[in-house]
């Protein structure tokens, strides 16, 4: 038997494998030491002190006293353990106050509805009604109204029970009274008190769907879990909760300098921020200043239209439904039409498919072309980074691992991860690293791989051709 949350309520069920259950707790060997407790001058059997409960929880689950007290308190509030001294207060005290385990009959997981009839028939409660207003006050009248038709029967039952109760030993009577009291406190808390039985809106049960969706297995190429370690290493210094932030965390010191320094469009980005651009093309593109840096670089290489095209496609993908046809047309006019002012260089197959798709414009009609341009920008974006970032870092994300071979990609002829191979003549101009007009590689018949070639050179781009890697003269 274990305690578990089902739907919205804490219940006792048989299924959940946890060591924390009243069953385990009452085990004569492993459970809490129970003894006869003295309550004033009456001896109550099988009781334990609040302290015993806390100690046992600490021992069993290797938790702190604070957590143990918290957990113990919840068990009391949910009615699985009840206090003998001061039974109206469902609180766990870590002293020698006596407690007992609630009888399973009264466990909330029994789900026996606490009917009004049971309520009225409980002799203890009825006595309280008759003697004092106790906890319910006005509710007594409400109750009377509700079970009015059976009132006489109920009162008779109550009197019978009271008489039988008088026959019992005082110890037993106290126990039974406390049990019932705890049960009703949990199920009918006084107004204003915490109601642990509260739950959210009803949730429907599961129904079997006829069609089973079987997931696409990304089989055999699953990357090692080392990805997580690597990601953690990279980002840990950037995580304010883990590594703090300079000058200080605004929430802790009430000083907002950190936010001012890292505003989207600040004059000078912080070192950490720039370092993050080097983690992936996504980071560079996703940061306002990073994107500006990318744009400046592309402008120098006369390839800025690629970023503008990509941004226009984003506007289409996430834009208003009613404007789709207009946006598609605008993109076509600016970037794809023959002789367009900002023509983007897409391979012929993709272009053909896109132009065909434009005839029936929809939100995703530019996806292929957009992905193509994204991949191209990604290849060269590393060179947009400031020279302060070490070259291996740049190349690392420029040479990102290829996508899963089983995936059907939109046509990207200059395949991700593979060196460029283009169909025209090769020309090259030497230049110095970091300066304008570096090495221009235009087309080939040759593949160019980093590491080959005599020296380093900045790769320059033109709309007519793309290339990457180090190259010699």
């Amino acid at each position: 038997l274990t305690l578990v949350h089902q739907g919205d309520q804490l219940l006792l069920t048989r299924s959940f494998p946890s060591g924390c259950s009243p069953g385990v707790m009452q085990d004569p060997d492993m459970g809490i030491k129970m003894r006869n407790q003295r309550l004033l001058i009456t001896v109550i059997p099988h009781a334990m002190t609040g302290n015993d409960i806390v100690e046992w929880l600490i021992q069993k689950f290797a938790i702190s006293e604070e957590e143990s007290l918290h957990l113990g308190n919840l068990l009391v509030k949910h009615g699985y353990i009840y206090p003998l001294k001061d039974p109206r207060s469902l609180v766990l005290r870590a002293d020698d106050s006596p407690y007992r385990f609630q009888t399973p009959y009264f466990w909330t997981s029994s789900k026996w509805p606490a009917t009004e009839l049971d309520y009225g028939g409980c002799p203890l409660l009825l006595t309280s009604y008759l003697q004092e207003t106790w906890l319910w006050g006005d509710n007594y009248n409400l109750l009377h109204k509700r079970i009015n038709h059976t009132w006489d029967f109920v009162v008779m039952q109550a009197r019978e029970q009271l008489r039988a109760a008088k026959q019992r030993r005082k110890g037993d009577r106290i126990v039974i009274d406390c049990q019932e009291q705890a049960y009703w406190l949990v199920n009918r808390p006084p107004p204003g008190a915490l109601n642990v039985m509260e739950h959210g809106p009803e949730r429907r049960n599961c129904h079997i769907s006829r069609v089973q969706l079987v997931s696409v297995l990304r089989a055999h190429h699953c990357s090692s879990l080392g990805r997580y370690i690597k990601f953690n290493e990279q980002y840990m210094p950037h995580d304010p909760i883990m590594s703090g932030c300079l000058p200080s965390n605004p929430w802790i010191t009430d000083d907002t300098t950190y936010w001012a320094m890292n505003a989207p469009t600040v004059m000078t980005p912080t070192k950490l921020r720039v370092e993050r651009w080097g983690f992936s093309f996504s980071e560079l593109l996703g940061d306002t200043l990073g994107r500006r840096q990318l744009l400046e670089f592309l402008k120098k290489e006369f390839s800025a239209e690629n970023l503008s095209f990509w941004e226009a496609c984003e506007e289409l993908r996430y834009g208003e439904q009613a404007r789709i046809a207009d946006i598609v047309d605008s993109i076509y006019q600016q970037f794809l039409a023959p002789g367009a002012t900002r023509w983007v260089n897409i391979d012929s197959k993709t272009m053909e498919r896109t132009l065909e798709g434009i005839k029936t414009p929809h939100r995703y009609v530019m996806d292929d072309a957009q992905m193509h341009i994204y991949m191209l920008m990604k290849k060269v974006g590393a060179w947009a980074l400031p020279p302060t970032l070490a070259p291996p870092l740049q190349l690392a994300w420029a040479l990102a691992p290829p996508p899963h071979p089983q995936l059907q990609l939109p046509q990207v002829t200059h395949g991700a991860g593979k060196p460029w191979t283009l169909g025209c003549s090769f020309t090259a101009r030497s230049g110095q690293h970091g300066q304008k007009g570096g090495v221009l590689l235009r087309g080939c018949g040759k593949s160019i791989l980093p590491g080959q070639g005599a020296g380093e050179g900045l790769v320059s781009l033109r709309s007519g051709g793309w290339a990457m890697g180090q190259a010699g003269h």
Partner: protein, 395 residues
């Protein structure tokens, strides 16, 4: 923040209606067929065929599941914490409540951060939706919804609007105005219409699209301006309780979790379910992507949180402790993904070391269930909302 995630979308002629559409693989009598989503819908609503009983269908489903598990088991089955043994353990961890936001008159059910890293929107059981500057704890806007149990709320990327919904089965968008004379409720736009309660909502990359999850078992993508349904996602066998969009620029996916104990990953473009995970033992209350986009975490009523890896297509970590017996209602990662914060129904927040699988800390403070938890956009703090009517900012 993450590198592109590519999707397998198969287009082709449907095996039933022969039209060229995005296809889903379905199994009929253990044979794989490719149907378009319309034919799948029709199939799902058909009654039993001859020679079929509910029991026979169920056993067929179970045997398929068994096959799937076998396939998965053949692959790498190393757990994340084993790989992470060489990673340095985390030291002492101290986080305190830095702000307490009081103002809701009833249980706080949901909250979301604005991109400006300090404003938040929160919603409660009595229908109130409040926009706060949580740094100063000032309330900036408040609106009363015509329904109770507003279980979902979201801030628009621009910061100029909020969306919310609950027992009214709708998702409504309110533009935020600083004009004191204007009544926020006047400019309200009803966007989504479901046939049961709204459990979660989120804007996509712009203010013009909203993704919703509902107790009617479906998720849906809507155009805000026109209220048009752009795509619907069917597949959960019970109420959908949560969703999260993948943090990728190139992908178009999101994950949802429901009362059928399943977490499902969807392709927004085709409406197809790409992956499905069913290892939880009870309702999944919350799902959240790992910052790289390669994985996601889930929190469930079975008192565990789990990490599912999308590339390996399996669960790679379980975050549980014998002393935690109450369900996790809400989970979120710290910026680096090293910590997983879980809000639980036992009024506490447990902080987990994602890599090592151990609990780093337990935070006390709330006086009733923690119902919602989100880390701020720049990772400097996180906010928790509770049934004790308050929200707390922790840092």
């Amino acid at each position: 923040m993450c590198d592109q995630t590519f999707l397998a979308i198969v287009f082709g002629p449907c095996d039933k209606c022969s039209k060229e559409k995005p296809l889903r693989a379905i199994y009929i009598k253990s044979e794989q067929l490719n149907y378009c989503s319309l034919c799948v819908e029709m199939m799902a609503t058909e009654g039993l065929h001859e020679n079929e009983t509910l029991a026979s269908l169920k056993s067929e489903a179970d045997s398929l599941k068994g096959r799937l598990e076998e396939e998965r088991a053949k692959l790498h089955d190393v757990e994340l914490h084993q790989v992470a043994e060489r990673v340095e353990a985390l030291g002492q961890f101290v986080m305190k409540t830095r702000r307490t936001l009081k103002g809701h008159g009833n249980k706080v059910l949901c909250m979301d951060w604005c991109k400006d890293k300090r404003r938040i929107v929160s919603s409660s059981q009595d229908g109130k939706v409040i926009v706060w500057d949580s740094f100063t704890t000032n309330k900036e806007h408040a609106v009363t919804m015509p329904c109770t149990w507003v279980m979902a709320c979201a801030y628009a990327p621009s910061g100029c609007a909020i969306a919310c919904g609950g027992l009214d089965n709708k998702c409504s968008v309110y533009p935020l105005t600083f004009d004191k004379n204007e009544n926020m409720a006047a400019k309200k736009k009803s966007v989504a219409m479901h046939t049961n309660y709204l459990s979660a909502c989120s804007f996509t990359n712009s203010d013009m699209q909203i993704l919703t999850a509902s107790g009617d078992g479906t998720c849906a993508l809507w155009d805000v301006e026109s209220g048009q349904l752009l795509q619907s996602f069917h597949g959960h066998g019970a109420d959908v309780l949560c969703l999260d969009l993948a943090p990728s620029e190139t992908g178009n996916t999101f994950v949802s979790g429901g009362c059928d104990k399943k977490a499902m990953v969807w392709d927004m473009r085709s409406g197809q379910c790409i992956q499905s995970f069913e290892t939880h033992e009870s309702d999944i209350n919350s799902v959240r992507y790992y910052p790289s986009g390669d994985a996601f975490a889930s929190g469930s009523d079975d008192a565990t949180c789990r990490l599912y890896d999308l590339r390996a297509d399996r669960e790679v970590a379980i975050y549980s402790k014998e002393s935690i017996i109450f369900g996790a209602s809400s989970v979120d990662f710290s910026l680096s993904g090293r910590l997983l914060f879980g809000g639980y129904n036992d009024y506490t927040i447990n902080v987990w070391d994602v890599l090592k699988g151990s609990r780093v800390s337990i935070l006390f403070g709330h006086e009733n269930r923690v119902s919602t938890l989100r880390v701020s956009p720049d990772g400097t703090a996180f906010c928790s909302g509770s049934w004790d009517h308050t929200l707390r900012i922790w840092a």
